[in-house]
């Protein structure tokens, strides 16, 4: 500590140590905060399968499923002071016909019989502390900031009410054929992204005060056949 430079180095070193300990405490405080996310309804409202091209100049046409859905969920208990954003996504899942064929693995909400999984819709819900990072224009940003009204935790964040929501993504299968697939279900997933700490997804069982997502699965439905030009084939409703 004999010169200013040495003092600077030593005090800065102590600062990084203290910062690390405080961050660890903040991350640990998440584990003692209970979580109880629930889903009221998750159902399809309109399902159709259309023929389309993957890209503008693709020569081959593939079948795409457009699954519109309604969702009513309360994820507000996921928002603590350490929550930066919650990434919520809805997937359509169905078992593969050949048990040995490889399919995408599921992350969180593990259901060993579901082998095919495709995301149809997702959204980033920012906490008030990270509203300035939301990817929206200035008018919407002003509205968002105002809705938080200076509170650090806004109880209305995480309450999702979607009616007949158009999906973000139209899904297909590598073979190009997805029409008339049986036993398709919609499942809600979430990923909590903290300011400091580990990333967590929806669990398949309770961990202490963190409860499993209640009711994140829709009823099974079947994807319809593609509409023929002349005739009308109705979509299957669950």
């Amino acid at each position: 500590m004999y010169s200013s430079l040495v003092r600077l180095q030593n005090v800065f070193g102590l600062f990084t140590t203290v910062a690390f300990v405080v961050a660890a405490l903040i991350a640990a405080s998440d584990f003692i905060t209970p979580r109880a996310p629930t889903v009221g309804t998750l159902k399809t409202t309109n399902v159709q399968v259309v023929n389309g091209r993957p890209h503008y100049y693709s020569s081959k046409k593939e079948e795409y499923a457009i699954i519109k859905f309604s969702l009513d969920a309360d994820l507000s208990s996921l928002f603590t002071w350490n929550t930066k954003q919650v990434f919520v996504y809805v997937t359509a899942e169905w078992p593969s016909s050949l048990s040995s064929s490889s399919s995408s693995a599921t992350k969180g909400g593990l259901n060993t019989t579901a082998e095919n999984q495709a995301v149809i819709w997702d959204s980033i819900i920012t906490a008030p502390s990270s509203d300035h990072l939301a990817n929206i224009g200035p008018a919407a940003m002003k509205k968002l900031r105002k809705s938080a009204a200076g509170k650090s935790i806004d109880p209305s964040r995480g309450k999702l009410t979607l009616k007949n929501q158009r999906p973000k993504y139209q899904i297909t299968y590598p073979s190009g054929k997805i029409a008339e697939t049986d036993n398709v279900v919609l499942r809600l997933h979430y990923n909590v992204q903290p300011w400091v700490g580990i990333l967590t997804w929806n669990q398949d069982r309770d961990f202490g005060s963190w409860k499993q997502l209640q009711g994140g699965l829709s009823k099974a439905f079947t994807l319809p056949a593609t509409k023929k030009k002349a005739t009308a084939a109705g979509g299957a409703k669950s």
């Binding site: 010169s3 430079l5 005090v11 102590l14 502390s129 650090s152």
Partner: protein, 106 residues
């Protein structure tokens, strides 16, 4: 003339403090940073506001830097008492009989 100013600047930049001052700086920096860290976490947790916690932590750290890094006068209150240059009595003979290069010393 320029040499004098440069010397002054060098002294300020070096920021030397005496040993008692160094002990004091160590104590102050440890206590201040620990208190700032604890305060930041507790206030942040009670208000459930992480921006407030970060503000307290960074602000408190800046304050600590300001208190500990420059060589303030109160760190130089116990200067080292150096012996005068030359002109003092020769050191007393030691109890050992040292022989170096066939001359006995001490």
């Amino acid at each position: 003339m320029a040499e004098q100013i440069l010397d002054q600047i060098r002294d300020v930049a070096e920021g030397q403090i005496d040993f008692e001052g160094q002990k004091l700086v160590e104590l102050i920096s440890n206590v201040a940073l620990t208190v700032v860290g604890a305060l930041a976490f507790i206030v942040g947790y009670i208000n459930q506001d992480i921006k407030l916690a970060v503000l307290i932590a960074l602000g408190g750290t800046a304050l600590t830097f300001l208190i500990t890094i420059p060589a303030w006068p109160f760190y130089n209150r116990n200067p080292v008492k150096w012996l005068p240059v030359g002109g003092s009595q020769p050191p007393p003979p030691s109890l050992q009989n040292l022989i170096v290069n066939e001359k006995s010393l001490g």
